[in-house]
């Protein structure tokens, strides 16, 4: 008795498509990451090695794309989960705000880490 049709015509198609495209990219990123990082437990986790990696321009690029797409994919995913629920507008706006703000904050943190070296 509560159904209301909202004809807002806010297309979700682009974010839906991007979710899949970023997902496909992340497959490669994940595979690459795991091969690089966990091929051997003895290697890869020390300060020097990490800094050395970050000094490599390709690695830097890779890391930047990874956090950008990963954050976008993850947060867009979280937002799509939240939208499954009926939310009052104020709640929706607040949650959306938290997602966007925290996402940007962590993205800046990640970018500044990479650019530090």
């Amino acid at each position: 008795m509560s159904f209301r049709y909202y004809g807002s015509r806010k297309s979700g198609s682009i974010s839906w498509l991007l979710q899949r495209i970023t997902g496909i990219f992340l497959i490669f990123a994940m595979v690459g990451h795991y091969i690089l990082m966990h091929y051997s437990p003895e290697t890869g986790h020390s300060y020097e090695q990490s800094v050395a990696r970050f000094s490599n321009a390709y690695w830097k690029m890779f890391y930047l794309t990874f956090i950008t797409l990963g954050l976008w994919h993850g947060l867009n995913g979280v937002w799509s989960i939240l939208r499954d629920f009926k939310m009052k507008p104020w709640l929706a706006i607040t949650l959306y705000g938290i997602i966007v703000v925290s996402g940007i904050a962590f993205w800046v943190l990640g970018v500044s880490t990479a650019l530090h070296f």
Partner: protein
């Protein structure tokens, strides 16, 4: 063969809360669930209330949740519900509940008002702008094949009420309405594609589908609803880029 039916009972007029009542009946493995419900109503307890009509899975009246899953009571035989031939008994009672997440009128009878509103929201009728020809509009067998499966839908609501997205957001149009939208969007005679795409391209529309496949499992007409919804999504994406 003895079998226990554990039936959801609730009359909001008199009952504080819903409860389950057990009925032990003698039944044949080849009986349908609806036969047993009829038997209970006829012989044991006339107050048991449920809808039914055709008794062979074509009118869509008796969708309910049986052993945790939505199905038509008239299209399932007892022997398909965990009956073991070896000891000729049921270990557990057969649980019969109304379609999940719907308002309840009484016992197994639920309120379909929302379901029909969603159905109407997608403009479930052929819209043509060009004047019709003297004879039939031509359509190749392949054109019809595209919409044949979708036109099998009997509007039983088993799918929509099984979809977790409907449980969390009862404004979600749901698989049945989306399937109906497909039925017309992909009808080669229809001339309101854009109009209909606009209707389903909303946060409460097609994008609430997360390919959970509950709908496909529940559909008594074995329609692959998810496939149809994926065609809609692709069409929307194509339109946008």
């Amino acid at each position: 063969m003895k079998v226990t039916f554990r039936i959801f009972r609730f009359n909001p007029e008199t009952d504080e809360k819903p409860y389950y009542k057990d009925y032990e009946v003698n039944a044949d493995p080849k009986d349908r669930v609806v036969d047993v419900l009829h038997y209970i109503k006829n012989e044991i307890d006339g107050t048991l209330t449920f809808r039914r009509s055709c008794l062979h899975g074509i009118c869509g009246s008796d969708g309910m949740r049986i052993n945790g899953k939505n199905m038509l009571a008239c299209s399932i035989l007892l022997q398909d519900l965990g009956y073991t031939d070896r000891d000729k008994t049921y270990k557990k009672p057969i649980v019969v509940e109304p379609l999940p997440g719907m308002p309840i009128i009484k016992d197994l009878v639920t309120d379909f008002t929302d379901f029909w509103k969603k159905y109407e929201a997608v403009k479930p009728y052929l819209i043509t702008k060009t004047p019709p020809p003297e004879r039939e509009r031509l359509q190749s067998p392949e054109d019809v094949e595209l919409i044949m499966e979708a036109s099998k839908c009997i509007l039983c609501a088993c799918c929509t009420t099984s979809c977790p997205s409907t449980w969390s957001n009862d404004n979600y149009l749901g698989p049945a309405a989306l399937l109906k939208a497909y039925r017309f969007i992909f009808d080669s005679r229809d001339e309101a594609t854009d109009e209909r795409l606009d209707i389903i391209d909303t946060p409460d529309g097609v994008w609430r589908c997360h390919t959970i496949f509950h709908c496909v499992q529940a559909c008594p007409k074995e329609i692959n609803i998810t496939w149809h919804i994926s065609q809609l999504k692709k069409k929307l994406v194509e339109r946008e880029i």
